[in-house]
Amino acid sequence: MSLRFDLIWEQAPAFLSGLWNTVWICAIGISLSLILGILLLLPLFSHHKVVRLPTKLLVEAARAIPFLMLAYLVYYGLPSLGLTLDSWSTAILTIVIYNAAYVADILRSAWVNLPKGQTEAARACGFTGVQLLRRIVLPQILIAAAPILGNQAIQVIRDSSFLAIITVPELTFTAKAVQADSFVPFESFITAALLYWVLCLLIEFGVQRLEWVRNFYGKA
């Protein structure tokens, strides 16, 4: 038995492009899902049951299905509604829908834990509606939930690996292609695994750096 990491080294450009695809798909997916997750807070905290309950149900349901299942829905299911997406758009749309549900739930529980006095004081100062959300609530719950959102970002990167199954050329797909090409399965998969590790360590490091913001503002 001899491990042939030299063959992996020859494929370094392929791995880098796979890594890059994983990074930008996840970056766009996470950013858009953060926005959508925040927007979902409006119906989630609505005073009207007709709005609140269905949204809550949808968020709960989205959190109960596997990522790959949703990718299948977008990839195989949407064309029958007349919406055919290429694998890139499928990848991003799946991440956005799936992750937005988690973001909404994380922010919802951060909001529930926000001291009531904050919103009461803001209302007393004349803040209402979107202004109250944007100026008072959102900054506090985003800072309070930062570590959990960081973990969720790592979860998105792990889930994005499933996209290899619908032939998105991201990191896992690259590893699969390289192993099929050069018959170096162990070396190829372990290389991809190490690259994922580096990526996630970077996110963890970034979240730790955010701690100072928390220490500065946050007794929230």
Binding site: M1, L3, A61, A64, I65, P66, F67, L68, M69, L70, Y72, L73, Y76, G77, L78, P79, S80, L81, I154, I157, R158, D159, S160, S161, F162, A164, I165, T172, A175, K176, Q179, V184, P185, F186, S188, F189, I190, A192, A193, Y196, W197, L199, C200, L201
Partner: protein, 213 residues
């Protein structure tokens, strides 16, 4: 709808793989947690790297690493075994963090009391701390089980016919992909709803039965 029995079979495989991995992962993660808390020199380092590595390792990649990669190193696994091992490794890393923080946060006065009635450290852990930690964290462990169910489609890559793989197969071949996949999704929702219901019941049962910390 005539695919329902086929789907239910897939759901059974999903539940089976997840359940076995959950049951195997619990003691494994406890061992990891204890080794890290005891600060056994090299073992501690190895396990902390293991936890960090596995926590960022995507399940599909882990499954393929075990199934396609290990034969190169001389270890041939059948798909079901490889899939279950991958899921067990996956959950062990997350569960060990639950054990670890629970053990570290266990009130020390109880352990002092146990020591004062003559229990050894081992006895006081297994007879006093462990039962309380296990019961107080049952909902956290079951929550990990739901993550396990959601990452279990990874075993489909190596040909285990779980619910997602079956749904994907049918959706790719029949002319009604949308209802097919929605049906598969609903089965997942049912499974996970049942799991969280069980979690709530168990938590209440333990809480009523014992005065938990």
């Amino acid at each position: 709808m005539d695919n329902l029995p086929y789907f239910l079979g897939g759901a059974a495989i999903t539940v089976f793989v997840s359940l076995i991995a959950w049951v195997l992962g619990l003691p494994l993660s406890l061992i990891i947690a204890i080794a890290r808390i005891q600060r056994i020199p090299i073992v501690d380092l190895v396990f902390s790297l293991y936890v960090s590595f596995v926590r960022s390792l995507p399940s599909p990649l882990l499954v393929m690493l075990l199934y396609f990669g290990l034969p190169v190193v001389g270890l041939d696994l059948n798909p079901l075994v490889a899939g279950i091992i991958a899921m067990t490794i996956n959950t062990s890393a997350f569960n060990s963090e639950i054990w670890r923080s629970a053990i570290l946060n266990f009130p020390s006065d109880q352990l002092d009391a146990a020591r004062s009635v003559g229990m050894s450290p081992n006895q006081s852990f297994w007879r006093i701390a462990f039962p309380q930690i296990w019961q107080a964290n049952i909902s956290n462990f079951i929550n990990e089980a739901t993550f396990l169910v959601k990452s279990s489609p990874a075993v489909g890559i190596i040909g285990i016919d779980d619910l997602t793989r079956r749904a994907g197969k049918i959706a790719a071949s029949n002319y009604e992909p949308l209802p097919t996949i929605v049906l598969g999704m609903m089965l997942y929702v049912v499974v996970l709803f049942a799991v969280s219901l069980a979690s709530r019941q168990l938590e209440r049962y333990f809480h009523d039965r014992y005065q938990l910390v």
